[in-house]
Symmetry: C3
Subunit: 334 residues, 3 copies
């Protein structure tokens, strides 16, 4: 795949500043680009490389223009345009059809003829695999599960009973959907399991990262609405509801029956306790714990800043006496 | 499956207030229940739905009685009773027997004739699979491992060398039991691996959530006693000992050689460092780090509360100077 | 396997104090050792067991010598020597060769004749499996991937496109290497995926723990240099670079494009945000979040200490007003 800069500018809707006849065949970072690459500047941390990049061209904003030797493709959102450029310059991903002879597909399952089911997949009775769906090796699709059209399960994805996955959704290896939630009633001796009999409903154009887990509802469904993007090793408990177009970074945990709004962002390692309601357009910064419902859009944080260990130890011991300090200051004021 | 309210009250040991002849066939939440459902009130957050629920009956405590139109099943522990009702109204889970032709079972393995081994399972020499055990697709059982009677491995569970799993235990997909602990000795250049040669001992009636990992002991065993309940994505390091009936919520990490008592509760995202001893009946709240042994039952916490990001930034910068503030206040007092 | 204490002392380079003719056949802890075991003292917490151990001999430092009845193997690094003793006394791990009939190996893949590929493995076109490599059951090796000589993938390891794994590397079950990074561009409606087209480069003598995930680069590679040791359930995002001989404990998350130096140690549950640079020889203590680059070697910490919940609640509410307190004290001083 190669395009001239003029062709690329046209496809991206960018203003070309420079020689449109130059061909490019790949995208690379400013530091690593060579003369056949197009590069981009989206994060100001990397602006210092503009002057020395060997890229054939750089995708950048009008305000970053003119600071280096490369040809330029100028537009307002270089990050998104860089993604488009990668897509335009990459060979198309091959779509396969049929069922691998080493797959175990129940006679009562429905696999669309245009779908692909790879080796070591098991598909149970009553499951439905949509048109163009791509199931990589080792996927387990339990009885009654629905996988939407053009959805891709990369490899080793497990989808348990009573789950439905929408169309054009992408699920990475090791993901478990529909496992039992952590529902336990106390007894005199210990714990009694609450049977988990709800389902999971996953919308269209969702992405779910490697080794993420999504529990089935206890009663009713765990719901992930359309366009939600979930990173690796995220834990979504039973009956959680995630609103459309919310993005959840790696290692986040969301406890049972919590409802997250639309267009929210949860940064890496954040946690949300159970039975809360989080409004639309809420951002939670990394490793913060959300312990109460949030009714207003905005950015929320918890945690202490990083310190030298010696400094931290001196301060940490004081945190245990903070209330005492407040009282002492109040006394002094009097 | 359908029962009259009179039958259900009898089975649950509840006092029936209302029409015992009404049939119910499922359990649903107060909000979602219809006329053929029984519902329950266990969490006061949902009390406001009592007045408007369309459920045929509600399982609730004496003190919540009389606040809505539905028939009532009155008893002291509605949450546990709701679990029983789900069990009574659900069709029995089918138990299968035999070995799927696509499983790879070593001639030296012993699989009880009443057990089930699904496709793409591998069972090594000397492994023993107990009566009624159910191994879903893709489970890997290494040589010498024992799986107890009526234990279920849902799918894609890996049990490595020198592990024994008790009876009536439930293990969810993606779990890894018996992986090497993180044992490293420093050398001049870097790290030298300490061979991990211990085992894992898992008791009866344990539950282990999806994608949880339990390392084998370095020497001696990692031990999970009977009735322990573990949620998804929990990490249990080498030679950890978990006392009976302790419950561990999702995303908890427990470091090597730590011993947790009986009837403890570790909330989501908590962490415990290595070589500690935690007494019985200790509760650790969410995302707290335990850095010292705990000798007394009780509830323990760490962490800062969630704030608006702007407020948090103003406060967080001060946390680095907390010790200085204590000294300053001391000076003022003088 | 059995050795006399004289033979063992010779192999370990230890000074023997006691009866060199005594045979030992295994290693055990001071508490659990019997008369045929050698034990060791590496952590002072366990010194109290020296007086009562029934071990045939104890590996210990000169300063711990003479405190118990056992024979002694005296040297400077008992922890490392204990690892050596385990290795000397363990039966050799069998190395297998060939391809299991239930594996699915593409005709275009190259598997060295001395390598082993177990059941339910899939190996794609153009993949290369090195001499002596051991692939346990259920591993998925995508087209074009390279696995180095004598590297072991224990079971159910997924290595996706464009990854190369070095020699003598050990990867535990459930690991996913080369999954897509979390690259998203905002649009008016929600999010647009940035294609992830980079690779993963993993060096020699690396260890990667169970259910850990390592994303491919967006452009260019995610790099894990030689001798890096990674525990279970660690998340390494796209384009992260980990310097040689760095050790990363369980449940750590490292965000995209961050570069960690050589000989660093990240304790369990730590997190590092994206686009940072961490110097060599940096240690981050457990569950700390690193929010800025670190230019100097040393130990860094964040977080609050564990308290009784009642004490914590009194203090935590004050943390929200810490800035106000600083201002109040400043006023008083005036």
């Amino acid at each position: 795949m190669a395009l001239t800069l003029a062709q690329l500018a046209d496809q991206l809707g960018a203003e070309l500043r420079g020689d449109g006849s130059v061909p490019v065949s790949a995208v690379a970072t400013l530091e690593q680009a060579t003369a056949s690459d197009v590069s981009f500047l989206a994060n100001p941390r990397y602006r210092r490389f503009l002057a020395t990049t060997r890229a054939a061209a750089v995708i950048l904003t009008p305000s970053d223009s003119g600071q280096g030797p490369a040809n330029e493709l100028v537009l307002d959102d270089p990050y998104r345009a860089y993604g488009c450029a990668v897509r335009l310059l990459s060979p198309p991903v091959p779509v396969r059809t049929g069922i691998h002879p080493n797959a175990d597909v129940d006679n009562g399952a429905t696999v669309h003829p245009s779908a692909w089911v790879d080796a070591f997949c098991q598909i149970g009775a009553g499951a439905r695999i949509g048109a163009g769906a791509q199931l990589g090796p080792g996927c387990i699709i339990c009885p009654g599960v629905t996988i939407g059209d053009d959805t891709e399960l990369v490899a080793r994805v497990t989808v348990l009973a009573a789950a439905s996955v929408g169309a054009r959704t992408l699920i990475h290896p090791g993901v478990v959907i529909g496992s039992d939630g952590f529902g336990l009633a106390r007894t005199e001796e210990g714990w009694e399991k609450i049977p988990q009999v709800g389902g999971v409903s996953i919308g269209d154009e969702v992405e779910i990262g490697a080794n993420t887990t999504v529990d089935r509802g206890a009663l009713g469904d765990t719901v992930i609405e359309r366009g939600v993007k979930i990173d690796n090793q995220v834990q979504i408990a039973h009956n959680v509801h995630i609103g459309a177009h919310t993005a959840i970074a790696a290692c986040v945990g969301i406890s049972g029956s919590t409802s997250i709004g639309r267009h929210c962002m949860l940064a890496g390692g954040a946690g949300v306790i159970g039975h809360l309601r989080i409004a639309d357009n809420v951002t939670v910064t990394g490793m913060s714990m959300v312990t109460h419902s949030i009714h207003q859009a905005g950015v929320y944080s918890a945690g202490t800043p990083l310190m030298h260990n010696r400094q931290w130890r001196r301060n940490a011991v004081r945190m245990k006496r903070l209330d005492e300090l407040f009282r002492r200051v109040k006394d002094i004021k009097k």
